[in-house]
């Protein structure tokens, strides 16, 4: 038996912290990083007698998400209490949604793999519901005790649950990345995974192809795409080995240890089978009227899927390029601005620049595209000058470097100041060619003897003599004529 005899089944539950100013049920700040318990209000620490009041901003973000994945936004949804004891859960229950979530259904299309092996897949979502985050247990030693910080308690979460549609860790990661890009795209979550703003739980099981679903184990709190991949790979291998050794899988909640690369069963979830959900009597049903949904829809930016289709249809980009350019809202916005300034005819060239030189420079400098020293307008100016033969592509790279280094405000400024304008005067080019031919008799002889490579060497010499400014097409043409071709 080998790994190929098993089918991997993965569903993801993602907890996205919504980027509201205040908490979901209290007026405390959600800002990250304050001193312990300084942002834990009476409601957040669950003083006796306090009551929750729902934040409109959290609901609005849930609606945005529902619309972005083409899901049903429930006209009426209900908050329920999920009861369990844990020190980071001050009320002894989490306010969540159970039977009637705010968002149901929806899909996200992902692109998995690279090159020829790349394929697209549509992942179905089960639901997305609003709930409150818990606090944090700090395990540093306080005389053998743990410390509880409730600053995070009550931060709004959108729990986004997928169907078990993924068949590999690569698909799971592609889905998680697409979801991550989407929540940032529609500006409902800052996506900061180090700070825990976007956390993944993976439900993993294996089965014989076509057979019934296997028993799943849930890997909790994966806060990077790398850990998600590693944890799933380890878990899959572990489950297969166990089953092949004749063992069985028990349903369990497990934690991934990045240091060892292994998963282990969590100890604190004994009551997981009995959360005693019931409608929270402190909260009334959440009613979302169609007019509200319409308003939110009007305010939605163009979504990545629509933008990608437009880039393919209108701009003639490849699926790969369109996917890459819409992988994040920032890159897409940059690219769109460049095309708008350069004109649609330059869309393909703009794409090459954004994904090529610009991406490489940003990557090397560890800069986000929003912090790019070269603005979309500047890039468009550069592309325009290449297109109208003012400069060659090779000089274009020089101009790009100059823009990056702040040597001028625009491509035109730099071309002017540094005298980079392409030489298109035939007389001048002819003079340069004559000089080169005179000085390179050996190459001329070789060419005439049939060595085509010698021609390229001569072109190179001419370009060098012109310091790259001669129009390459003209150089080619005149040189060939002069050599009697």
């Amino acid at each position: 038996m080998s790994r190929n005899d098993w089918e991997v089944v993965i569903g993801l539950e993602v907890h996205a912290q919504l980027n509201t100013a205040s908490k979901i049920f209290s007026g405390a700040s959600t800002a990250f990083g304050s001193e312990p318990n300084r942002q834990a209000s009476a409601v957040d620490i669950a003083l006796p007698g306090v009551l929750p009041v729902l934040n409109r901003g959290a609901v609005e973000r849930a609606i945005r998400f529902g619309l972005a994945i083409d899901a049903q936004v429930a006209p009426k949804s209900v908050f329920a209490r999920k009861n369990y004891f844990y020190p980071d859960l001050p009320k002894g229950y989490q306010i969540s949604q159970f039977e009637l979530p705010v968002v149901s259904g929806g899909t996200i299309t992902i692109r998995v793999g690279e090159g020829d092996k790349a394929y697209e897949k549509t992942v179905n979502l089960t639901r997305a519901h609003l709930e409150e985050d818990a606090g944090k247990s700090l395990h540093e030693d306080f005389h053998g005790m743990s410390g509880i910080d409730l600053n995070r308690a009550g931060t709004p979460l959108l729990e986004i649950v997928s169907e078990p549609d993924m068949r590999s860790s690569a698909e799971a990661v592609a889905y998680a990345r697409a979801l991550h890009a989407l929540v940032r795209w529609i500006e409902i979550c800052d996506g900061n995974m180090q700070e825990g703003s976007f956390r993944c739980d993976a439900n993993v099981s294996v089965r014989r192809p076509g057979g019934p679903l296997g028993t799943r184990r849930e890997i909790k709190n994966l806060n990077s795409f790398r850990f998600l991949q590693q944890a799933i790979d380890f878990e899959v291998q572990w489950q297969i080995e166990r089953l092949e050794d004749g063992g069985t899988i028990q349903q369990a909640t497990v934690l991934f240890d990045p240091d060892t690369g292994e998963t282990r069963v969590m100890r604190t979830k004994e009551d997981a089978h009995d959360y005693r959900y019931f409608p929270d009597p402190d909260l009334m049903p959440l009613v979302i009227v169609p007019e509200w949904i319409d308003r939110v829809r009007e305010q939605l930016p163009e979504l990545p899927a629509a933008m990608k289709a437009r880039f393919i249809d209108d701009y003639g980009l490849s699926a790969y390029d369109a996917t890459t350019l819409t992988a994040s809202r920032e890159v897409a916005t940059y690219y769109q601005a460049a095309v708008d300034a350069a004109g649609q005819a330059q869309a393909k060239t703009c794409a090459n620049w954004v994904m090529g030189d610009l991406a490489a420079r940003l990557n090397k400098a560890e800069l986000d595209v929003t912090a790019s020293p070269v603005s979309p307008t500047q890039l468009a100016g550069l592309v325009t000058r290449i297109a109208d033969n003012t400069i060659s592509n090779a000089i274009g790279k020089k101009v790009f470097d100059a823009l990056w280094n702040g040597e001028g405000d625009s491509a035109d400024d730099i071309i002017e100041a540094q005298g980079l304008k392409q030489v298109t005067d035939s007389g001048a080019i002819e003079a340069m060619i004559d000089e080169v031919l005179a000085a390179n008799q050996k190459s001329v002889d070789e060419f005439r003897a049939g060595k085509e490579k010698a021609f390229n060497a001569l072109v190179g010499q001419v370009m060098k003599a012109s310091r790259g400014k001669a129009n390459p097409a003209q150089v080619n043409e005149i040189l060939r004529r002069k050599l009697g071709g």
Partner: protein, 95 residues
């Protein structure tokens, strides 16, 4: 429906209420008395009746997303059993 001692222990554990062996039987008998009273409900056919969670049929009111709370940690922690460095202390949490 009648609870066994084992049921009572299980519920007590779920509710995090320590139950001494000596109290278990008395608790069981009182709980069974209450459940017997409650059992009268089962005689009624309620098919088609919508469950009622709230006395008033109104929609949840929404709060504007604004920070309105200020730091009151010191006031709140004055009544806490054990704190240090602004944290509530509890017996070691093992995940």
């Amino acid at each position: 429906m009648s609870l066994s001692l084992e049921d009572v222990r299980k519920i007590s554990s779920l509710a995090r209420l320590d139950l001494s062996e000596s109290d278990a039987e008395a608790t069981r008998s009182k709980l069974n008395g209450i459940l017997e009273l409650v059992e009268q409900m089962q005689a009624i056919d309620t098919s088609g009746v919508e469950p009622m969670s709230h006395p008033q049929d109104v929609a949840q009111r929404l709060r504007d997303d604004a920070v309105t709370e200020t730091d009151r940690r010191d006031d709140f922690q004055r009544v806490a059993p054990q704190t240090e460095a602004g944290l509530y202390l509890v017996p070691k949490v093992i995940e």
